[in-house]
């Protein structure tokens, strides 16, 4: 009898001790680690895991450790919804960082809004923050910004008649729609609009059509994955002389490697992270991007990716907001996120407001050109 009560007391004491540990701060993530958008979700997950570990090693936030709950939604909006439900209801997270693709993000938005959980999305489309939703923010540049940046550069080279070629994925279609919308205002005339399918091996038929269209002065390929690499190779094979622009969806060394020599002279807008090594020291982002690049590559022996950078920014903005608010109360953290000013991230300098839940402007995008298999900064502003 006495033996049993001894156990009971021991168990109780243990439970009390465990409870005496401060509650961890729970960060929920749903990412496309497998599936068609795996090269978005994979670096995102690695980044979150790495930095949760580093922050905990440095003592955590507000004296509490971080705990990461990460699920693989494999690019599927339905799965994303179920996982977000799980994160909110079962795992009881304090904030959400995730949604690698726009589809997954939009499926999660109603849940974040109705449950009142601050959510920083890692997806690109402008619809995520336009119209502004109270609890939803995002770190990546929007596809509309990419179009504007590209069109500005095209005009500066005297090209106003532009052909568009895009893939079938969500990113591709969304960017194509945005480019068609802003072309008029930017003084650009879209004279051809071709597409290719997911998993297609050869785009010469579409490019031959573009080549046969009179007066094409520049071509924009809005896409990601292997499609743009194939388009670039086909482009050189057909000896089309007009300058080729790609989107920020292929802002990675992998694209350059796949496209090989045919990538020479291709331009695209990208975050400063890609040229971390050649950024001048006086650049506002130099320190952040150089450090992230060094730490990520040392740990994972893989090239940094801008998508991982967006995850880094998302996590850091949430933690920074928690520190400023001094609490993990969801409402106060949300307010603090909205009040983020002058935060220097891998994507740019972030200035959020009640009307702007992304906080980046066109200067956050740098125009890069591929030369001799590496990135070169084309504009030297900032």
């Amino acid at each position: 009898m006495a033996f049993r009560s001894l156990w009971a007391i021991a168990a109780l004491a243990f439970a009390c001790a465990a409870a005496a540990q401060p509650e961890p701060i729970r960060i929920g993530a749903f990412l496309s680690v497998t599936g068609p958008a795996a090269f978005l979700g994979d670096p995102e997950q690695k980044t979150l895991e790495l930095y949760v570990e580093k922050v905990n090693a440095a003592g955590g936030v507000l004296g509490r450790k971080l705990q990461l709950y990460a699920y693989d939604s494999a690019g599927d909006a339905e799965k994303a919804r179920a996982y977000v439900k799980r994160l909110i209801e079962q795992d009881k997270v304090d904030a959400l960082v995730g949604g690698s693709t726009t589809g997954e993000t939009m499926a999660a938005v109603p849940l974040a809004e109705s449950s009142g959980v601050p959510f920083i999305s890692l997806a690109g489309a402008v619809v995520i923050v336009e119209p502004v939703k109270k609890w939803v923010f995002k770190t990546p540049h929007t596809d509309r910004m990419a179009c504007e940046k590209i069109f500005t550069d095209m005009k500066s080279r005297g090209a106003t008649r532009v052909a568009l070629i895009s893939g079938a994925g969500g990113f591709d279609r969304s960017m194509r729609a945005e480019c068609l919308k802003v072309a008029g205002n930017a003084g650009i005339q879209i004279v051809a609009d071709e597409s290719y399918g997911a998993g297609d091996s050869d785009m010469t038929a579409q490019l031959a059509k573009i080549k046969a269209t009179p007066g094409v002065q520049a071509v924009l390929n809005a896409g990601f994955g292997q499609g743009p690499a194939i388009v670039t190779r086909n482009y050189r094979q057909l000896a089309i002389g007009a300058p080729l622009y790609q989107s920020h969806g292929v802002a990675s060394k992998q694209f350059v490697k796949l496209a090989g020599d045919s990538a020479e002279g291709v331009r695209l807008p990208a975050a400063a992270l890609l040229v971390a090594d050649t950024l001048p020291d006086a650049d506002a982002q130099k320190k952040v991007v150089a450090t992230y690049k060094r730490e990520y590559e040392a740990r994972f022996k893989q090239e940094v990716s801008t998508f991982g950078g967006h995850a880094y920014d998302g996590l850091m903005i949430v933690l920074d907001a928690m520190r400023r608010a001094g609490t993990t109360d969801k409402g106060r953290v949300r307010d603090a996120i909205e009040a983020t000013r002058g935060y220097v991230g891998t994507g740019g300098v972030v200035n959020m407001s009640a009307q702007d839940h992304m906080g980046l402007d066109l200067t956050a995008f740098r125009m890069l050109e591929v030369r001799s298999g590496d990135w070169q900064l084309v504009d030297f502003r900032n």
């Binding site: 599936g35 597409s195 992998q254």
Partner: protein
């Protein structure tokens, strides 16, 4: 002939030849077992990925290609031995679900072992495009395309010789015509099944190796290619070798011409509409061979 038309035709033939190889794989397995092997696309993926991995590891290209096809064949044989044979006697639909499970498994293993990066493969004889009909008004052809077309022709010829001139090939044909009778004359259906899987897997892997220099390879390229190869096989008349080849080329051409001249956004829809129309008007596919139903 306009440059655009010529270019579209070449594009269609290239892709069509790959579909033809995949379709042949479907046809061979179907003939031996009446099963649609949904893992066929993954053999294509294994061929391309393995070759890319071997090249990265430092093996010379020809050796990598041979090794990759060999690996594909081995996976096909394993699949038959471990998954199809134990389930012999099960309804055909069950066997189909097993192959679906196998394709998921193979994709998962590929992602695990080889990672999710997209990989290039060096072209067999260089990248310099061959110009036909003059630089201004002509079309260009990649040397790799010639490899694709040539190898497909060679493969079809070799298969024809195998099925019509060798004893094992004729045994396989016998099984496809009448399994019971074939067993009665002493043909080992089990061995025929094994050989059919090995052969189809080798063909699929070969297709993967041929197309990878043009369109890269990754852990998930098998899904779309398998689907289109299946469509090509059905278009040609399931179970018919020449039909599979014709179906593959036809599908590739319809896609490319649709992309170049109608609407490139709807090229896949166009291809499938044509396919459906063909099936409705030619219910046994291009080859027209009907399957006799026992009452």
């Amino acid at each position: 002939m306009s440059a655009q038309l010529l270019q579209s035709l070449l594009s269609g033939l290239t892709v069509g030849a790959i579909y033809a190889l995949v379709a042949l794989g479907f046809a061979i397995i179907y003939n031996a077992s009446r099963v649609i092997n949904f893992a066929q696309g993954e053999f294509v993926m294994i061929g391309g990925m393995a070759a890319a991995v071997f090249v990265d590891a430092g093996l010379p290209l020809p050796l990598s290609v041979v090794a990759a096809v060999g690996l594909g064949m081995a996976v096909g044989l394993l699949l038959e031995k471990l998954a199809v044979e134990p389930a012999r006697g099960a309804p055909v639909v069950t066997l189909i679900i097993i192959t679906i499970g196998a394709s998921i498994l193979l994709r998962g293993l590929a992602a695990l072992v080889w990672g999710k990066k997209i990989r290039p493969l060096p072209a067999f004889s260089g990248d310099a495009p061959i110009v036909i009909g003059g630089t201004a008004g002509g079309a260009t052809l990649l040397p790799q395309t010639l490899w694709v077309l040539g190898t497909t022709l060679a493969a079809v010829a070799a298969l024809w010789w195998f099925f019509n001139r060798t004893l094992s090939g004729k045994a396989m044909l016998a099984v496809s015509h009448n399994r019971l009778a074939a067993t009665l004359v002493g043909i080992s259906v089990r061995r025929v099944l094994l050989v059919s899987f090995g052969l189809s897997a080798a063909l699929g892997a070969l297709a993967g190796v041929l197309i990878a220099p043009i369109s890269f390879t990754a852990w998930d390229v098998g899904v779309m290619l398998g689907l289109k190869g299946f469509a090509a096989a059905m278009l040609g008349g399931i179970g018919s070798g020449p039909g599979a080849v014709a179906g593959g080329l036809a599908l590739g051409l319809v896609e490319a011409l649709g992309a170049g001249y109608l609407s490139s956004a709807y090229k896949d829809v166009f291809a499938f509409v044509v396919l459906l129309a063909a099936l409705v008007f030619l219910p046994n596919g291009l080859a027209g061979r009907g399957t006799a139903e026992r009452v």
